[in-house]
Every structure is written in C-alpha cells, then in structure tokens.
C-alpha cells in the first residue's frame, strides 16, 4: 500500500510539513546540529495551516474524517480512558459479535458498563469486526450488558461507531430489525444513567440501536446521519456520487446535530483531528464523560427516566395548526 493511502486529500499539505519536520529531526539527531529554531517555526507554520484548513471543512470533509482509517476506534478510547476494562462476550442466544464489544470497566473510582461498535484497523481485522456493522447478536449482547448495569446500579456508556447495522441474510434471519427496536424500547426504561458518545460514524439504525441515552454527545469530527451521504444522494438525486451534497443537506456534522437540538454537547478534538493526538482526544473525552456521569448521578431514577422519555418524545419536526377541535376530528371513512 502506498504511504499516502491513509492521508486525506486536504491533509496532504499538513503531512508534507510533518515529513519535513521529521526529516530535520532525523538529520539533526545524526549530526548533532541544533536546528530547534527551524523546527519550532515549521511546527507553528504547520499548526497555523491545520487551523486554516480545519476552519473551512465541509460536511463531506467531516464525513471523511469520521471514517478516517487512522481515526481512533472504540477500543483505543477504552484502553486510554478506563483504568480497567474486562470484556464480556456473547448474547447467550446465538453468538458473540466482534462488531459490538462490551464489558465492565473502571472510570477513576466509578464502575461502569461499557458497550460500543468496534471497527477493524487492517484488512484482516476489518473482516473480523465486519466493518463495525453489528448483527442481531451484537445488539442483544449490548442489551444483556445494559440489563446487568441496571441490576448492579452501574451507569452505561455507549460508544457509537458504525456505518450501519448488518443487513445480510443471517442478520435478517435472526431479526436485526426487532433487535434494534427492542434495544431502544428497553433503554427507554433502563433504571440507570446512560451516556452515549458518537465517536466516529453514527450510521442510522445501526447507531440508534445503542444510542437512546440521557446524554447524547458527539466528538467534534464525528457524523450522525439517517443514511450515509452517498445513499442519500442515490435516493434523492439518483446519483450516489453526490455524497458531498448529501452530507451538506443532511447536516451530518456535530455542529449540525447541535443546531438541530439533538446533541447535548460536542467534544472538542485535538488540532487536526483525534487521529493526530489520540491521548489528548481520549483525555478530552474522559473529562466530558465524567462530568455528565457526575450530573446524572445527582438525579433520582424516576427523574432520570422522565427526562429521558421527554428528551426523545420531543424530537422531530411538525407544526400544530390551531383549528377548532370540531373540524379536526372528522369522519374520514
């Protein structure tokens, strides 16, 4: 594979400066020459360049960032954020789904239950993780773990990163639609706090099957959409190549989600995206996550459930015409 396969087009000028800096560092390490001034200048040039590029990103650029091959995945954050993580497997019905991971974890002095979709880094792992597309057994495993959280009074943390749910023959045979629906219904009444973070791709029903929470957060360069932008373009304009326009129209970005009033907070990513500084990205995420868990811990369970219901109850657009009641209720048959 060429070295540039995992560099996006708009990242190329940044990567060129990165390479120059690395080259100077390598040379000075060999020669002992002091060029720290040059390096500092180049680094500050590079950062200004990143700021410039990232202040002009389109919704499509953000889509590419959310799918970036170097973007940190669920287990990358899990390893960094949690002091301890014990993965638990299987739905007790059919199988263990590697596209949906979960288990018990320690976040500072707090015990939590964690679930999330997991993508694969290389070709082999991508196949193993089914590109982060979970099957019914994945959604059922997630629900099983969430029920465990309820029983043992532990909050639930869900990381969303999936292009879509699996829709192949096996998934349909085992009831993928019913599994997603049941998760949303059960999460509505789950007697413990739930915090959802979209860390990469929030792909449609595949995402929302683990995304009904008291708080729904998005990483800055993640996306959340009813359908991939290419799919939107294929449906609306009969032209899948217009994904760029689709991303724009659907407002798939974290700002879009905020603007639509569906996302509680956007978590800032390091300059140039989470993949440029995984540690910092994880630290930011941890701070925000902890704050929301602290806030939710103040609420009684009935308060929590009422708020959770009201939150999703109020989503969606419609207008209410004020018409006399008599004329609203009409015999239509």
């Amino acid at each position: 594979m060429p070295p540039s396969w995992n560099i996006l087009d708009f990242e190329k000028p940044i990567s060129e400066l990165d390479e120059q800096i690395a080259e100077i560092k390598r040379l000075t390490a060999e020669s002992g020459e002091d060029r720290s001034q040059d390096i500092a200048t180049l680094e500050s040039d590079r950062d200004r360049l990143i700021e410039h590029i990232f202040s002009n990103l389109s919704a499509w650029d953000k889509t590419l960032l959310a799918r970036h091959p170097k973007r940190p995945y669920t287990l990358d954050y899990v390893r960094t954020i949690f002091d301890d993580y014990t993965e638990l497997h299987g739905d007790r019905l059919f199988a263990d789904d590697p596209a949906m991971v979960g288990g018990i974890a320690t976040l500072d002095d707090r015990q939590v239950v964690f679930v999330g979709q997991q993508k694969g880094r290389d070709i082999k792992e991508r196949g193993y993780r089914n590109f982060g597309s979970a099957k019914p057994e994945g959604y059922r495993k997630a629900l099983r773990l969430m029920k465990q959280a309820e029983k043992f009074h532990r909050p639930v943390i869900c990381f969303v990163d999936t292009p879509a749910a699996d829709v192949n023959v096996g998934a349909e045979q085992r009831g993928i639609s019913g599994a997603i629906a049941r998760n949303m219904m059960e999460m509505t009444g789950l007697k413990t706090p739930i915090v959802v973070v979209v860390i990469g791709e929030g792909g449609s029903g595949g995402a929302i099957g683990i995304a009904l929470g008291d708080r729904v957060l998005m990483l800055e360069h993640s996306i959340y959409a009813v359908i991939p932008p290419e799919g939107f373009a294929a449906i609306v304009w009969k032209d899948a190549a217009r994904g760029k326009d689709g991303a724009e129209a659907m407002k798939v970005t974290s700002e879009g989600g905020r603007e639509l009033g569906l996302i509680d907070e956007v978590i800032e990513e390091p300059l140039g995206g989470a993949h440029r500084n995984m540690e910092l990205a994880a630290r930011n995420l941890k701070v925000v996550l902890t704050r929301h868990l602290d806030e939710l811990a103040q609420l009684s369970i009935p308060e929590l459930l009422d708020m959770r219901y009201a939150k999703f109850r109020d989503m969606g657009a419609y207008e209410e015409k004020s018409v006399a009641v008599d004329s609203v209720i009409t015999d239509c048959v």
Binding site: A181, M185, V226, L260, G316, Y318, V328, V333
Partner: protein
C-alpha cells in the same frame, strides 16, 4: 438502512403498483394482476378487498381504504389531523416533493391515526399509507404515532398499528431517524401501562419503521407475500457465498424465522383482529361483565 423502497426493480414495481391502485383503478374497468397477469374486473377486485382472485396477490391498500376495511361501518374519527409537516433541514427539494405526494394521494401525510370501532370495541388505530412518499416516517408520522399511543394509555384502549413503509424519510435527516427512538420509547410506555398493542405488517414493512414501533407489538400479524426487512434488497450482498432463500425478506421468511405470529389473508384480517382484541380484554372488563 433506509434506502428502502427507492432502489431496485422491486421498488420500481411497487411504486408502479401503488400508482396503479390509486390512479388506474377508479376510472378503468379492469386491471392486470402484477403477479400472475390475470385480468381482473375492478368491481370484483374491489369486492375482494383488492386481492387477486386467481393468485391471491394482495394489492397495496391506501390508509383510507384500509380503515374502511377494518372498522364497523365507517366508525372512525381521525386524530391529530392538525399536525403539519415541516421541512426541518430546509432542504430545497422537500416542499416540492411534499406537494407532489399530497397532490397524488389527496393525503396530507403518510399516516392516518384515530379512534375506530371494531366489532363494537373502541380501538386506537394508526395506518401508514405506502402511496404517500412510500409511507416514510418523519416528524408528523412519529408525532401522530406517539400521540395515538399516549391517547390509548390515557383512555385505556388497545392500539392497532398498520405498517406500510419504506422506512425513515431521509430528507428529514437526523430528526427523522430520531422518530425510531421516539416511537420505540412510546411503545415502552404502552407496555408499561398494560395496553394491548397489535402490529399488522402490510406491503412494504421495511427499515426504520419495522426496526422501531413495527417490531414491538404484543402480537405481530402480516399479510401474505409482502416485503419486510431492514432494507428492501432481495438480492443479498453476500449472494456469492450464501444461498439466498427464495422467500428472502418476504412475510413467509419472517414467519419461518420467528419474527411474526401469523400470516393472515386480507379477508381474514378483521376476524383475526377481533379474536386478538377479545383475548386482550382486561380483567376489569371481565369483572364488569360478571357483575
């Protein structure tokens, strides 16, 4: 998951069928069955609840026709007709599309909800109409479904939801997707309150509507032959490696794999609903009857 009804040959055929049943039928004398090719006289077809007398093909019914076929002598009062569609994304083509579907169907949205009587029993009913924008769920559909369920809880009435949908209306974006969460949350309330909830799958029962309130009934019955699944594609992506069953994503596939209780032909539908409603009568009613 939502690219449901707009892709592929099947979708095209379904759209054509939908249009035929709306436009062609009232004026023409006869109709050709899209499945077996039989020439059917419209009057006969109408009498037969739009089921082909030769092969049993179930034509897609509009919401109003469906309601008429289920309730007692037009005993139906519409609810929440004052909810109006909003172009939430400010998407330039949305309003034109909305106008087109309204004009084509005479409906204001893809669902009619209300209170009806079935065999003398009062029931909350919601009926999606596949002819209107492929029965896609956006803000108005979600709100009508939830209000219908909340009304049922408040008044202790059973709920019957007829599914006929390609999924979420993608031009409503993320707020559209959230209707899955919203309606599923309402189902949680419904079950918590002990309200009987019957889902009837009709052609097409797909994607985000199937994967939310369409999968959460106490009972799920389905008309025969219909298309149902998380997407509409009947050719699986893994066709090369896996044998795709002939009935893939059909009602019969759903029955075989345990996702629905029964397949019920249209002419048996009302009597089946009456049986289920009778079973669901709550104890209080029984006590009243005994007294």
């Amino acid at each position: 998951m939502t690219p449901a009804p707009w892709f592929g040959r099947k979708a095209k055929a379904a759209r054509k069928t939908a249009r035929q049943s709306v436009d062609a039928l009232p004026d023409g004398l006869w109709t050709k069955c899209p499945k077996c090719g039989e020439i059917l006289f419209n009057k006969e077809l109408q009498k037969n609840l739009r089921v082909c007398s030769k092969c049993g093909y179930h034509y897609i019914l509009g919401a109003r026709e469906r309601i008429a076929s289920i309730v007692d002598d037009g005993a139906f009062e519409e609810m929440d007709a004052n909810l109006v569609t909003v172009n939430i994304l400010g998407f330039e083509e949305y309003d034109d599309k909305l106008a087109k579907w309204r004009q084509r169907t005479g409906m204001d949205e893809a669902i009619v909800t209300g209170i009806g009587e079935i065999d003398g029993r009062t029931v909350v009913i919601g009926v999606l109409d596949f002819h209107f924008w492929a029965g896609t769920m956006g803000g108005v559909v979600g709100e009508r479904v939830v209000r219908a369920m909340e009304y049922a809880i408040k008044n202790d009435l059973p709920v019957i939801m007829f599914i006929a949908s390609g999924g979420i209306r993608v031009t409503e974006g993320l707020p559209g997707l959230m209707q899955m969460a919203k309606t599923s949350a309402a189902c949680a309330k419904l079950h918590e309150a002990g309200i009987p909830y019957i889902v009837v799958l009709t052609d097409n029962s797909l994607a985000g509507v199937l994967a939310s309130y369409g999968s959460l009934g106490d009972f799920t019955i389905s008309e025969p032959g219909l298309l149902t699944g998380l997407t509409a594609d009947r050719v699986a992506k893994q066709a090369q490696v896996v044998n795709v069953p002939d009935n893939f994503r059909r009602a019969e596939f759903a029955l075989e794999h345990g996702h629905i209780d029964r397949i019920v032909a249209r002419k048996e539908l009302k009597s089946t609903l009456i049986k289920l409603l009778e079973f669901c009568r709550n104890r209080e009613e029984d006590e009243e009857d005994a007294a």
